[in-house]
Amino acid sequence: MANAQTPRVDELEKGPWPSFVKEIKRAAEKHPSAGDLLRQLDLSYAEKIGHWKHGGIVGVKGYGGGVIGRYSDKPEEFPHVKEFHTMRINQPSGWFYTTEALRKLCDIWDKYGSGLTNFHGSTGDIILLGTTTGNLQPCFDELSDAGFDLGGSGGGLRTPSACVGPARCEFSCIDTLDVCHSLTLEFQDFLHRPQWPYKFKIKVSGCANDCVASIARADFAIIGTWKGAIQIDQAAVADYADAGLNIQEEVVEKCPTGALAWDGEKKELKLKAEDCVRCMHCINKMPKALRPGEQRGATLLVGGKATILKSAFLGWVIVPFMELKPPYTELKDLLRRIFDWWDENGKNRERIGELIYRVGMRTFLKAVGLPPVPQMVFRPRANPYVFWWPEEVKRNA
């Protein structure tokens, strides 16, 4: 009967791309809430407006976040989504799973929820989409027994995420999975009991390709990089040339700093290492032949975020290079200083980047004890309104 009731969304069962409507209907075979969800969505398609009430605070014992309260504004019409809360479940670093773990999750969610999920939410969590207030605690209890903890929500640390890293990528300059896991465990209190002005996201990418979009999406971005020259296997470069890669056009001319030269006769790639800015382009084009330099570490950036509230920011370089070896003490200490300063000075709903913009980078750097270096800016200031600290000038009597 579901077909007769949802004529608009049924249209989206057609077409070559896998259909979320089919998925909701599959869940609806076992879960009345999924059926009501689809009927409510069909109403939204008719009226061009959402039908979820504003907010609602629900949770599980011992946690201040990880659950998003959701209530239908048409509970009489769609009683099974009267309460339809989301649980955010902290994904394993790199989104690797055993089928055993996934099946356990599915069984628990079929027992307590709508049978609908997001693999994954855009921050990285496993999203369990839709259950009642009464089912939250027993669902969490079983998830906890199965080894799955809650992710973040609200004004606190959000679930950190990492690219595939050394697990399956030759580009990764740092152990992204371990850094992500270690920071998650270290700062769980901030993740599970939101206590800050607003959200704080941490993302870890193994190289400048930035497959988790950390520079755009993370208040604190950790991006793998190196010092020293790219390692070149000239024989493998020649193989790429022989296989038809136009090294002059597709590699050398795309180098942003002109650090590469190609000798087509000798089939030799030359690198001016001091001009290389480690953008990854040449390595991306010839992974068999080129590898990052040997001294590996990460560039740290702060402030990345989407539009709300003062415009979108890309992350700003605050530490050009930090070696990252377990237990990552230097990194964790820096994060703790940043958290403390932001928590102390940030206004309600002010992201760290917005706070830095409001009070000035120099204030931030001084507060967290980072030395100013030219790698932090594209170019120095042009405006002459320079602030001096009181100790830098002689006071007049």
């Binding site: 070559p16 407006i49 055993t98 609908l116």
Partner: protein, 352 residues
């Protein structure tokens, strides 16, 4: 009392043995065909990743189907990507073909690697959000149906990342995508004075406005909105249910182009406004689908090999882009918020 604060499962427990053996010691990779990656380790061991598009919003039975295939062909291991794709990790070369045949028989697409369109990062929309200006899953489905060939075949000048966020909160953080589809409100919030007095703190609501358009109305124990200053961001609605911003007549979709997050060649870039408004027209949003398709095609036609959309536009100039894309340039395209000045042209160098 259940255990708390134990964190996510340790990633090591989730890694296939071949990955554990070669962790951090991968040597190189090749793309064998769209959706099939081969990684080779220093040890000589190989792993094949079969990338499969997913609708992201999936049932537990879908996940079980994924598990069945992973049990049959991948020794019980599977991973997901940052763009909601599934990756089946195969160690036996002879398993690749039968796995792909089974995946295709289910109607799941194999692709999304190299110079393909990858899956669309997106938000919840009308499925589960309380502030959306549009739906998410529906538009994604309609766009991916239309651009399907670009996911399964590698025929674009460079990689293509399309993302969707259903309002300016941008849970999908779409602001650095080759093409971003962004839900927009276009009318000021309607204040429910009775409700506001009951449920909201007035200073919090006043402080939530980035343009200072909200001031207290002590008489009503509520607030009023200076409508000329409101830019419809919806931040006040996030703070107070009494500031209703959703408007079915006027809400819709904007299209932004030229963003990227990778540092390869050029620095990361924001997406910039191409089309300020298209109507919500469910279930298939034909105006949005057509606009996105046209943008992909104009880029694919004119860009040089290896040029992301933003790199192409920066080379030819935005004035040329608007001409080639046949998109009218309006006052909406000129920034008027706090970071507008660096976007104004301060040179006599430009193209006709």
């Amino acid at each position: 009392m259940p255990r708390t604060d134990f964190g996510p499962p340790h990633y090591m427990e989730m890694l296939p043995p071949v990955i554990k053996r070669n962790y951090g010691r991968w040597k190189y990779h090749e793309i064998l065909r769209p959706g099939v990656l081969k990684h080779v380790a220093e040890s000589g061991e190989e792993i094949y990743s079969i990338r499969v598009g997913s609708p992201r919003l999936v049932s537990t039975d879908f996940i079980r189907e994924v598990c069945d295939l992973a049990d049959k062909y991948c020794d019980g291991y599977v991973r997901f990507t940052s763009r909601h794709n599934i990756e089946f990790l195969v160690t036996k070369k002879e398993n690749i073909e039968p796995l792909i045949q089974e995946v295709k028989a289910k109607g799941w697409p194999v692709g999304g690697t190299g110079n393909c369109l990858s899956n669309m990062v997106h938000t919840q929309g009308w499925i589960h959000c309380h502030t959306p200006a549009t739906d998410a899953s529906g538009i994604v489905k309609a766009v991916m149906d239309e651009l399907y060939e670009y996911f399964v075949e590698e025929k674009l000048p460079a990689k293509l990342r399309i993302s969707l966020a259903c309002c300016l909160n941008m849970c999908g953080a779409v602001h650095c995508s080759d093409i971003a589809i962004l839900g927009v409100h276009r009318t000021p919030p309607r204040v429910d004075h009775e409700l506001l007095a009951k449920v909201s703190e007035i200073p919090t609501v006043v402080a939530s406005c980035p343009t200072g358009a909200i001031r207290p109305n002590p008489k009503l124990k509520s607030v009023e909105v200076n409508e000329e200053r409101c830019m419809y961001c919806g931040n006040c609605f996030t703070m107070s249910p009494a500031m209703q911003i959703m408007d079915p007549e006027n809400d819709g979709v904007s299209i932004w182009v030229g963003g990227k997050v990778s540092n390869a060649r050029t620095a990361p870039m924001f997406s910039r406004l191409a089309i300020p408004y298209l109507p919500n027209n469910p279930p298939r949003w034909p105006e949005v689908v057509e606009a996105v398709k046209k943008l992909v095609e104009v880029w694919a036609t004119h860009a040089r090999k290896g040029e992301r959309m933003g790199e192409w536009i920066e080379r030819i100039g935005w004035e040329t882009f608007f001409k080639l894309a046949d998109i009218p340039f309006t006052d909406k395209h000129i920034d008027d918020f706090i970071f507008s000045v660096p976007t104004f042209r301060t040179t006599t160098q430009f193209r006709w």
